[in-house]
Symmetry: C2
Subunit: 164 residues, 2 copies
């Protein structure tokens, strides 16, 4: 007999709190990354993603509402570790030609964390019969995927070559 | 005048040490995840990925050799945070029907971290004129992408429904 009654509803709620906390941390990190970037197109990409992140937080708040819970974050060690590595790059490569390539790499690690979490949340929302939540989560997943692609293009288009 | 002389070579070497450390942590975590999984197909997926991870570590050692450095890890806070979240799920959902869905989510966060890092390393290797290294890194990137897809299928195919 299973004595642990936790179900996918609990996992979904936990993961929602995790990514809500993560998005708020990302919101704090992005202005620093935009300021640190040397190439104007990279600063612009970070600023654009800052605006998107605000919208993604609002979507998460709607999803909390859809499951009848109040929006609440839960410390997420993963995003803290990923952002710490980004901070380390900003310090170690300050003033170096390779700084922007390092910033792109750090931002892509953030995007991939988000893509993993939103992909999971979207799938779980569908299984749980929450199509409206699934739609909101998918909108964010598509935005994160596009941001990751834009960063790849910026790297390919010159930031990496400048750094070499 | 830039006083920081660090270039893409330094970033590449740093990122190589980061993922080398991460792979070794993943190698330690996978047997625990395989043992915790309830569905035999999920245990099998983790065991298969354990064998792949051993091969990925060997590839990284070849890349170190190609740039004339000895294989060396560097503590990676990101993977430690991601694996800690997975451990937490294993504890909180022990004996619960939702455990496997949680394990899949944790493993997909690991895969996405690796996909981000190998994507970056492969691109940098190409920019640095290291085609052989780029090929090795791309082989691992393809493996990680396939593992992520397999995990998505396992979730869709029943683990999530069982958990709901």
């Amino acid at each position: 007999m299973a004595t642990n009654e936790k179900t996918l509803n609990d996992l979904f709620h936990d993961a929602l709190k995790d990514i809500y906390y993560a998005e708020k941390q990302i919101l704090k990190a992005l202005p620093k990354m935009a300021k640190a970037a040397q190439a104007p197109e990279l600063t612009a990409a970070f600023q654009k993603h800052l605006t998107e992140t605000e919208g993604q937080i609002e979507r998460l708040e709607k999803v909390f509402e859809l499951i009848g819970k109040r929006p609440q974050g839960k410390p997420c060690e993963a995003i803290l570790g990923i952002l710490d590595e980004g901070k380390e790059i900003m310090e170690e490569f300050k003033g170096a030609v390779a700084l922007d390539a390092g910033l792109v790499a750090g931002a892509q690690a953030v995007e991939h964390y988000e893509m993993a979490r939103y992909g999971t949340l979207k799938t779980w929302a569908t299984t749980l019969g929450l199509p409206e939540a699934a739609k909101l989560l998918d909108q964010t997943l598509q935005e994160e995927t596009r941001t990751d692609q834009l960063l790849t293009q910026l790297g390919d288009r010159g930031l990496n070559k400048k750094a070499a």
